[in-house]
Symmetry: C2
Subunit: 381 residues, 2 copies
Amino acid sequence: MFELLKTDSATKARLGRLTTAHGTVDTPVYMPVGTQASVKALDPRELLEMGTQIILGNTYHLNLRPGLDIIRAAGGLHQFMNWGKPILTDSGGFQVFSLAKIRKIKPHGVEFRSHIDGSLLFLGPKEAMEIQRVLGSDIAMVFDECPPHDAPAKEQRHAVERTIRWAKECREQPRADGQKVFGIVQGGNNAALREECAKALVAMDFDGYAIGGVSVGEPEPEMLQAIEFSVPHLPAHKARYAMGLGTPAQMLELVARGVDMFDCVLPTRVARNGTAFTRRGAFGIKGGAYKADFGPLEEGCDCFACKHFTRAYLRHLLKVNEILGLRMVSVHNSHLFIKVMADARQHLAAGTFGEFYREFIAHYVPSQKVLAARKAASNER
Amino acid sequence: MFELLKTDSATKARLGRLTTAHGTVDTPVYMPVGTQASVKALDPRELLEMGTQIILGNTYHLNLRPGLDIIRAAGGLHQFMNWGKPILTDSGGFQVFSLAKIRKIKPHGVEFRSHIDGSLLFLGPKEAMEIQRVLGSDIAMVFDECPPHDAPAKEQRHAVERTIRWAKECREQPRADGQKVFGIVQGGNNAALREECAKALVAMDFDGYAIGGVSVGEPEPEMLQAIEFSVPHLPAHKARYAMGLGTPAQMLELVARGVDMFDCVLPTRVARNGTAFTRRGAFGIKGGAYKADFGPLEEGCDCFACKHFTRAYLRHLLKVNEILGLRMVSVHNSHLFIKVMADARQHLAAGTFGEFYREFIAHYVPSQKVLAARKAASNER
């Protein structure tokens, strides 16, 4: 499924290619998030124009609304949302542990109340895989337990034990035609737990491996550490996916640490509040400084928004709550995330990734506002 | 400016062509409404794809936000919003009398408080024309007084007197290069007032004539009557514009009565609540009946939404508040309004308008919900 084309000489970065039932995906790759069968504010044409190779869908959300019957009747998630390229579906584990009101963790899953209407539901390895089978995603994720970053050591250990046991159960469930399944490494910020979890999953021979329990409110150094604790125990010839991450700079930090795949709601989420990403960091377009600024959101950007509209116009739209404003900032931000990964691939192919990476990080000024927004992003995943 | 190409033999319908500084407009025409320099939820590409020939902007709203300085610095409204085709701007009269808190009506305009921040402002013929000059619209409207439909006779008379006096003042103001100006006929549901107002305006020789004081909450028969009271007093060789109207069926009723131009916020307004227009009437796409309906919003429609998405998918998006849902219903509805007018033109050219019109009306079932929505639409104009 994953072809490792090249490994960088200066860093652990890798150039690769995933093959799925709906086409190939060049890595490193950023995957726009379509939690509820729509990447927020964007249409499929816009996604294709910006170079989207693969998007995410979500088991927990789609199972609640519209429900499996409808997606089954539509012929699967691709058909339902009219997206012909690959889809990766998250298992719902993250949402059950972050959004839902848990009633009881049982041996084969979790009894919880829907965050929509409070109805009593059950999701475990069997259910999550069955839902993903019906959704017909190209890549399904195992049902894992994702504890908060500040969970006590005992809870982290139990989460790893359950995650391993549930991964094994997921491994044995029926799949859609050609559907691949990724395991998820948990273990918080504990090196031994991360190693244990990774090794147990690798022994089960999944099609790829994700690193979960990151982007759950922890400080960035801890996040990077959790990745560093996990990656060395994952096989080189399988894809590696850091779940729910990150800013453009964070994605490059993780590419340099050997991660191939990313998903993050930040580009569309912060767009709705008027925050635009650039290669130098993010800025609030609603600021008075942009009132009469007739340049594009980012100089040199060739996205649809930057080709057609000025900062002054987009600022106006956002100030008066016109939908086109948040649409266009969503286009620009998503395009940038995709383009930064495309640039990484180009530099990997040319053997210049190390320099590109160092320069990017040196010029990127992280925004505290954006980092704070990450903490509020859980109900979009 | 207006070329009358053909008059229907069976009705008063006319085929025509407007020539403006930014290109020609074939009539009858529906003009999407971009009150705040954006047709709600749509981008210019989508507008062009659906065949939009001309859009509206609004003096009152644009003068408040972003303000004239910014639009002047951008080089005018076309440049500011990146719209290369014709723009008609309303004068702000309607908004001052419907949205703002009026402090005092004076001989040369109205002192009022902004509906945004309560600041004290003044708008009259001179100010409205100066704002429209800076906006650089292709067609400017005179500053009129638009009383409520149930205003007493004395108020209607005063409104007509002021409207005539203000029209004369507007006529004398400087304009943008090539900018045309339309007079607005007021007079409520009073035949004599309508005639008096129309005749006085015609004597001033405007580039076209609008019928105002319609779509202000009056029942449909009264609206049709107000049009019928006005049209006979307008010259055949000038364009006629019914302001703020209507549904597809109402537009055809008015085309058959000799009206050439229409603007209405309904297509995008009701879209945001999940109401889709069809040639048979409107329906609420959020209804349970469409849960697993995998047909397009309207059979045979070739809009972007109908070509790409099903009712079931759009219903889901609207139910879970995904922006793509209201975007796509806005696309479909606006496309339909434009297409119905294109069909009217085609039938006028072919000499079959009467039949087309009768059949359309016979099959169109007006929705009470849509008619109610019109009453709430004033702050979008």
